[in-house]
């Protein structure tokens, strides 16, 4: 029972190896030293058997921490007692050093994932505690806002953003400086700035990560915009499905208010700015700016015709500037480093960097930020680490449900707004879904159209009815009931919907279908004319599996994995698959040790 009062145990190895290297004298010295410091009642010495590390003996371990000292000599004992047992400081020089040194570990800049990245919007993400405003300030945070409010006039700010060549990162790519100029030029006693954080594309999480990882950067970007256009109130419109982003943003706003970085007379400049959060209910169409503003006003989230543009008549009829999260995240850098420094990055028409969310059949799923003009190949193969399981690249989908799929031939395409548009897709907000040979492009198109069809607000007939008809045709094709002329009808409907819908949702909804027809028309034809799904995805078009009786060794492994019990047989005699029950899921094929299973 006496053990419980010892605050520390010192283990000394008294195995043969350590004894021969001096463990016994070490123990005696320790006993003496403990007694001299009046620690005998607090610290217990325990003799242990061999740790198997005789080469580095004598070995001493101090608990409760578990500090592992090696090659300890009697001369070291006084220091251990004085430093470690009395003061609680580890004696560094006696710690075991593994042969591996710090220098052998690759630094961040040297690993493939970061080598080609350049982080501006994401500069602080993963580097600071997002809930600590001091950490943001320590890295130069709010200096851009301070500089703008105390040293620059609003037109100078607008000109700087114009000169930087920043374009809207939400996907449209409209020049941000120009947008600010329109809002600034609009007459009005009251103006608003809005941050669009209604990130809804499947597979996209750029904005969420910035809000979660560096919320103050968004506040600062909005503060600069508000000063430039003359607004005193702002809204961040963020999906309610992002609870952590909302929580951190709320905390950030609170802290900024406490520091006087939001509120009245910021930096004694006479400038006031109040920031609110509006939680969206998750309708995809509310990412469209006019629908978004209707939603803030408490109306149904539906788009309205433009013009008038928000810069003229926006929220509650007042001039409003609305930008995406990533756009605002670039502002502090542009103000601090200057327009030239920003426009030097990227390409001529698309300056700066772009954040992408890499998902799909890729090894390094994650968030990357690269200079504009980086090729798809660099992003997918060098940063993303290529495709998993030795699979072959088939297509990459950019721009979410509004974008398109690009085949292998386009891997060398530099990523910027204009070249992606020329290729039939778009930058979009930054989702990048990688697909391999196991993906059916007709099925992919159907998935995205199913998404936009159910998210259509229903206001415009072409979008409401047209996407529904297109989806019906795609469903028919994947069910094996495609007809001659279906492809042409899809193309015709798609073009009509694009040219006659009011907002971006309808104008871009057919893109996944149109781009897959453009690049993978043979797959559509195989579905329609040959009743075959080349990727083996559309289950109605995949024929049942059969077992080669000659090759089968009767091990029964296939029968165990069949989800519908279509495989039967006796062990050590050939098994058979019932073609009427088989759903062609393919689960049995990789199980067979002798490759006796194949599709009929």
């Amino acid at each position: 029972m006496k053990d419980s009062i010892y605050r520390s145990h010192v283990l000394i190895c008294t195995g043969t190896g350590c004894v021969s290297s001096g463990a016994n004298t070490l123990k005696e010295s320790l006993e003496e030293e403990l007694a001299a410091n009046d620690l005998s009642g607090e610290i217990k010495i325990v003799e242990t058997g061999c740790h198997g590390f005789c080469e580095k003996g004598p070995i001493m371990i101090v608990y409760p921490e578990g500090v592992f000292y090696c090659e300890v000599q009697s001369d070291d004992v006084a220091e251990i007692v004085e430093e470690h047992l009395l003061k609680g400081r580890t004696v560094e020089r006696l710690l075991f050093k593994e042969p591996m040194t710090d220098e052998q570990i690759p630094s961040y800049q040297d690993i493939d994932f970061y080598k080609k990245q350049q982080r501006i919007a994401l500069a602080n993400c993963g580097q600071i505690d997002p809930e600590d405003i001091d950490e943001y300030i320590a890295l130069g945070g709010y200096e851009a806002a301070g500089k703008v409010l105390t040293e620059m006039d609003p037109q100078e700010v607008v000109d700087t953003v114009k000169d930087a060549g920043l374009r809207g990162r939400g996907g449209g790519g409209f020049p941000t400086g120009l947008k600010w100029q329109f809002a600034k030029n609009s007459e009005g006693d009251k103006k608003y700035v809005i941050c669009n954080a209604d990130e809804g594309d499947p597979g996209a999480f750029m904005d969420r990560s910035i809000l979660e990882g560096d919320p103050h950067r968004i506040i600062e970007g909005m503060l600069v915009a508000a000063y430039a256009i003359g607004a005193d109130e702002g809204y961040v419109y963020v999906r309610a499905e992002y609870p952590l982003a909302i929580k951190r943003l709320e905390k950030a706003i609170e802290d900024a208010e406490e520091y006087g970085l939001l509120g009245e007379n910021i930096f004694s400049s006479g400038f006031n700015f109040k920031l609110h959060i509006k939680k969206g209910a998750g309708a995809f169409v509310c990412g469209e700016e006019t629908a978004l503003m209707n939603s803030i006003e408490g109306k149904r989230g539906m788009p309205t015709p433009r013009p008038p543009y928000p810069a003229v008549r926006g929220l509650w009829g007042k001039p409003t500037n609305i930008n995406n999260v990533e756009t605002y995240a670039n502002i502090p850098y542009i103000i601090n480093e200057g327009a030239d420094s920003f426009s030097a990055i990227g390409t001529e028409g698309s300056s700066g960097t772009k954040v992408f969310a890499l998902t799909g059949k890729i090894n390094n799923t994650g968030l990357v930020e690269v200079p504009m003009g980086t090729t798809l190949k660099e992003v997918i193969f060098e940063i993303g680490g290529g495709l998993g399981k030795g699979k072959k690249f088939k297509a990459v989908q950019t721009g979410g449900p509004s974008g398109g799929c690009l085949p292998e031939d386009y891997l060398d395409l530099p990523i910027d707004y204009d070249s992606l548009l020329d290729a039939g897709t778009m930058m979009g907000s930054g989702g990048m879904v990688v697909m391999d040979e196991d993906s059916c492009m007709v099925d992919v198109a159907r998935f995205f159209l199913n998404f936009t069809q159910s998210e259509s607000c229903g206001k415009c007939t072409p979008c409401r009815e047209g996407t529904k008809r297109m989806l019906e045709i795609l469903n028919r094709i994947t069910d094996g009931e495609g007809k001659d002329g279906d492809i042409e009808l899809l193309l015709e409907l798609g073009e009509h919907i694009k040219s006659t819908s009011l907002c971006g949702l309808g104008q871009s909804a057919p893109n996944p279908v149109l781009s897959t027809i453009r690049y993978f028309r043979d797959e559509y034809e195989a579905h329609i004319h040959d009743h075959n799904c080349p990727a083996g995805v559309c289950s109605d078009l995949v024929s049942a599996y059969v077992i080669d009786e000659e090759a089968c060794i009767g091990c029964g492994k296939c029968a165990k994995v069949c989800p519908v019990d279509a495989i039967s047989g006796e062990i050590k005699s050939p098994f058979i698959i019932d073609p009427d029950v088989c759903i062609a899921c393919g689960a049995c094929e990789p199980e067979c040790p002798v490759d006796a299973i194949s599709q009929a």
Partner: protein, 120 residues
């Protein structure tokens, strides 16, 4: 905030404090707590870190950070020993946390099979 000068003063003060922290005796463990990290089990990792520190009665500062981009390798933690470079570990289990604290935080040896990279 009354002026840009006041902001700069605050920045210098915070930087100094962070520097002091760097040169002091406290180790720091930073857990990646973005949605990707949490989905991969970062909350359990954080709990395991706190439990291990409690068990060993260590003086370690535990903080959080957002997504650093390597979602595939979550849960991630950074270990920063005073005066040393920050080391990032990934694909962690709770058992790995014990190993990292025992070998790296307490004994100063980087756990080479779990390490991803170091920050310069």
């Amino acid at each position: 905030m009354k002026s840009l000068a006041e902001l700069k003063e605050l920045r210098n003060k915070v930087q100094k404090e962070m520097k002091k922290r760097d040169q002091g005796t406290r180790a720091e463990i930073i857990v990646g707590m973005g949605t990707c990290g949490i989905a991969a089990g970062a909350r359990d990792i954080l709990k395991a870190v706190l439990a291990e520190i409690e068990k060993r009665d260590l003086d370690v500062r535990v903080t959080q950070t957002g997504c650093i981009g390597m979602c595939e390798k979550e849960p991630l933690i950074d270990v920063k020993l005073p005066g040393k470079e920050k080391i990032t570990y990934g694909n962690l289990s709770e058992a790995d946390v014990q190993k990292i604290i025992t070998e790296h935080v307490v004994n100063g040896n980087i756990v080479s099979d779990l390490v991803i990279a170091r920050h310069k």
